[in-house]
């Protein structure tokens, strides 16, 4: 169904393109193409000029073929074809449409010859056709191509194009291309070259860096030029260092928000209730598999609404994980309150069984969870490259955190949870049904883990082992941040994520992680109750 729609849309596009370019473009070009093969160098020259004047980008491949020496005249008909050697025969194609015209003996076709002056005008024609194409994307690509090729022949066209350009970003690219051409040309005056260095310095990416570094070390270059280039290089390097640091910070924030998502449910069950739920990771995994199932349903029944699948998956994942959590609380954890180590073992057993159950139902392999269109792609922010997927996860985790804070601070339900956390016997004496509060809190924590699963399904493999990868990190975050304090979890997650990512460039991913683990082990020695410990007068045992 989905593919059918795509096919139809594609066909419509194709028809529209034909309607626009067909009669006006290809038909206009056809006589010019025929002219390329007639009248010797002069005829070809006139045809090339005509193509440049027509301003029709469809002519670009024809001109490129001409430049490469692939354009031939087929003898009896006198029409122009692209002919390339294929064994003993020549394979013929139509230069405009690219359609195959079969094969022919080499003797049947005559190569269209070109000389140096013709070559120049062909290049200029190609350059102007692409640089002046009505499509700004093609113009941008052409400018980038000139920037890379640094071809002096393009300078004239570039200047004309610059004069006409209206799109600011394309104009910028053209100015940079011009600067790079001037810098490369031997004849340009020194002031122009100095200005060119400044223009390039503003662009300040790796390509410019290597270009200018080369210039600053070039023994033949004039001293003033070298000096300017060297100073711009230091500028660029400093700027890059700054953006790199910022980029790492962003990665750290992004990792921190993932940790926050994974740990925040644990902060409720472990932090608030004191229950060590080793099956927490499996709640995350269940959330991810719920996403998978929801997406399968969407794929089967409503592929056009696929972008909404994640939004639908959120409540489903919450409900599934909360339901399973409630069942676990009722059957196992309820009987083990006050025995934290036994709870740890029992929930570990549950996590093994849940993993195997999911493996039996969905198979041991990774399941593919698709990304909706609003989560794919990336954008640039200064020197930062930010993917929408990561951005949404940061936003989502902060939103979940805010919701949880509101739920705990501002609702009756949250009030009862906090009361039971602070003083269980007193809360019970005031008439609260503590077993029910426990059950609801556990369901809440598990449900939040399910929400985390929806987000993690976007960045991680959805496999039965998904939860295992996060359980240790989650515990680290909660313990580091301080038990019984979800603000501590926020700080802990962001701090650990950032430290991890900031260490990575120096120590490597694995060593960085080991370092963080050791750091946490040492940290717990200093503050056995975490960063933000609840103060109390209770003495254990």
């Amino acid at each position: 169904m989905n593919s059918l729609i795509r096919l139809l849309a594609g066909l419509c596009l194709l028809l529209a393109a034909q309607g626009a370019a067909g009669p006006a473009g290809a038909a206009d070009l056809a006589p010019l193409v025929r002219m390329l093969g007639a009248g010797g160098f002069d005829g070809t020259e006139r045809a090339v000029a005509g193509m440049a004047e027509a301003g029709e980008p469809a002519a670009v491949p024809v001109l490129e073929a001409l430049l490469a020496g692939d354009l031939h005249v087929r003898k009896p008909e006198g029409d122009v074809v692209v002919a390339r050697r294929q064994g003993a025969e020549m394979a013929l194609t139509d230069p405009l449409s690219g359609a195959s015209l079969g094969t022919a003996a080499p003797a049947v076709v005559d190569k269209i010859r070109i000389n140096n002056s013709l070559r120049r005008s062909i290049r200029a024609a190609i350059g102007s056709l692409t640089l002046m194409s009505p499509d700004p994307r093609i113009r941008l690509n052409a400018a980038h191509a000139v920037f890379k090729s640094r071809d002096a022949a393009a300078l004239e066209t570039l200047d004309t194009a610059l004069g006409r350009e209206t799109d600011a970003s394309v104009k910028q690219a053209m100015a940079e291309a011009r600067a790079s051409v001037i810098l490369a040309s031997a004849s340009a005056p020194e002031e122009q070259k100095l200005a060119a260095i400044d223009t390039l310095g503003e662009r300040g990416d790796r390509e410019v860096l290597s270009l200018l570094t080369g210039l600053s070390r070039d023994a033949a270059a004039p001293a003033a030029l070298k000096q300017r280039a060297a100073s711009v290089v230091t500028d660029i390097e400093q700027r890059m260092l700054f953006w790199d640091a910022l980029q790492n910070l962003w990665y750290g924030l992004s990792l921190g928000s993932v940790l926050l998502l994974a740990a925040i449910g644990l902060a409720v069950t472990f932090g608030v209730m004191g229950v060590i739920n080793m099956a927490h990771g499996e709640m995350v995994m269940l959330g991810a598999y719920s996403t998978f199932v929801v997406q399968e349903v969407f794929r089967a029944y409503a592929p056009q609404a696929f972008d909404l699948s994640l939004l639908v998956a959120l409540p489903v994942a919450f409900a599934v994980a909360a339901g399973v959590g409630l069942a676990i609380e009722w059957t196992v954890i309820r009987k083990l309150y006050g025995r934290p180590l036994e709870t740890l073992l029992a929930t570990w057993g549950i996590s093994l069984a849940l993993q195997q159950a999911v493996r039996s139902i969905f198979g041991p392999n990774n399941r593919e969870v698709g990304a909706p269109s609003w989560m794919s792609g990336a954008f640039e922010l200064g020197g930062l490259s930010i993917t929408y997927g990561r951005l949404w996860i940061v936003v989502f985790s902060l939103a979940v955190f805010a919701l949880l804070v509101v739920a705990l601070r501002r609702t009756w339900f949250g009030l009862t949870i906090r009361a039971v956390t602070q003083n269980r016997p007193m809360a019970a004496a005031m008439g609260m049904r503590t077993p029910r509060v426990d059950a609801m809190a556990f369901a809440l924590g598990s449900g939040v883990a399910g929400l985390a699963g929806v987000a993690l399904s976007q960045i991680d493999n959805v496999s039965p082992n998904l939860g295992q990868a996060y359980i240790i990190d989650s515990f680290m975050v909660v313990v580091f941040g301080g038990v019984g304090n979800i603000w501590g979890t926020l700080v802990g997650a962001l701090a650990l994520g950032t430290v991890n990512k900031l260490l990575e460039p120096y120590a490597g991913a694995v060593l960085g992680k080991i370092f963080v683990l050791v750091l946490i082990i040492l940290f717990i020695q200093r503050r056995p109750r975490g960063l933000f410990a609840l103060r109390g007068r209770a003495v254990e045992a």
Binding site: I276, K335, L341, E342, I350, L352, Q468, I521, I524, E540
Partner: protein
């Protein structure tokens, strides 16, 4: 009246060591002397399998010493086990000599493969068995001592301690996965040829390894039993049940914990060292937190705080694992998971506790009956 042995040991504590000694004698005989086909004969393979179970039993024993008697639930004992295993693996690796795939006289294959030019300093000495044997005990012991010194002194207890032991083994897991560490990375150490000059694959060597494991387990069991029944052992039990109270009574709680913890880590290291030549490989997988948690359930199944229970539990669960993973592999994790839940919920004292409950019930029943019966007798 119970008979008390010189070391203050209960005579019932001798049952298991005697059984182990009998096994240490019987298994080599059954493997080497009794002809195949006889019902008493044993294949080399099953001797190796039982040897593996006994290594696990030794690990469980070590765990029971700290969990059952000091209340320290370690979720990272696999780290000490694996470190002992790696120390032995390094010795076995050096014994390969020039018989490796690349035929380098000194460097193990993986180092040649990684283009290393010379042996890293921490591999020196491992070609001598006594040095390797010392390291088997020293490396886990020192790590445990350092870890315990900091952790117990800062009064990290309960769940927090469990979680940082898990972090410890997880950090080691990541570290040993790295090729640059010089321990074979992902693949670990394997392709061993001989130990102390004996062919590792030979039935005689396998039988001897089994006997050595059984002997080591018996000795460690006696040592652990002696420790827990000593005065220090009483303090340990007390601090398990009420740590603050023991502290207020003036005992230096940290010292007792540190002693038991270090001893336990060394036993775990020994278990690992005996394990490696019998299974023929040691890789970072042994550091996995899941493996350490699995060891905890062996103790829980057998009965925590009994020593005997740990040995029984380890053998039982691993026997079950072997059976399950060959008969119906997809149900093993259900069975293991169910075991965790059922044992913690319904068998808090393990199989041994169940048996002794049934025993004492039967006993009291029997004792009551003679009082009822007299009227019936003439």
């Amino acid at each position: 009246m119970r008979m008390v042995l010189p070391g203050g040991l209960d005579r019932s504590k001798l049952v298991l060591p005697i059984l182990l000694l009998a096994a240490a004698v019987y298994v080599p005989v059954a493997v080497l002397l009794i002809p195949e086909g006889s019902p008493f004969a044993l294949s080399v393979h099953s001797a190796g399998l039982f040897g593996k179970y006994l290594c696990y039993a030794l690990l469980a024993l070590a765990l029971d010493l700290v969990w059952g008697y000091c209340g320290i639930l370690s979720l990272g004992h696999g780290a000490f086990f694996a470190l002992g295993g790696y120390a032995m693996g390094m010795y076995l690796m050096r014994q390969i000599g020039p018989r490796g795939v690349y035929g380098h006289p000194v460097l193990p294959d993986f180092m040649v493969f990684l283009n290393w030019q010379e042996l890293p300093w921490y591999w020196y000495g491992f070609n001598h068995f006594p040095f390797a044997a010392l390291m088997v005990l020293l490396v886990p012991g020192l790590l445990a001592f350092a870890f315990g010194w900091f952790a117990f002194r800062s009064r990290v207890t309960g769940v927090y301690l469990s979680i940082i032991t898990q972090a410890l083994t997880f950090a080691l897991l990541l570290a040993f996965f790295r090729n640059d560490m010089g321990f074979g990375g992902n693949n670990g150490l394997t392709d061993f040829k001989e130990i102390l000059g004996f062919e590792l694959q030979a039935p005689g060597t396998r039988a001897a390894l089994f006997a050595a494991t059984a002997l080591a387990l018996a000795l460690c069991y006696l040592l652990a039993a002696w420790v827990v029944s000593s005065k220090a052992g009483k303090v340990m039990t007390a601090l398990r049940d009420a740590e603050s109270r023991v502290r207020f009574l003036g005992y230096d709680v940290e010292r007792y914990k540190l002693f038991a913890w270090t001893l336990s880590a060394m036993m775990a290291g020994l278990a690992g060292a005996l394990y490696v030549p019998q299974v023929g490989i040691i890789n970072p997988g042994e550091f996995a937190p899941a493996a350490s948690i699995e060891a905890v359930i062996w103790v829980a199944v057998g009965g925590r705080g009994t020593l005997t229970g740990a040995v029984i539990g380890a053998v039982m669960v691993n026997f079950g694992k072997s059976w399950f993973t060959s008969a119906m592999p997809e149900f093993w994790l259900f069975a293991l998971g169910g075991l965790f839940v059922l044992v913690t919920l319904y068998l808090p004292r393990g199989v041994l506790g169940l048996v002794s409950d049934l025993w004492s019930r039967a006993e009291s029943h029997r004792r009551r009956r003679p009082d009822d019966v007299p009227q019936a007798s003439p």
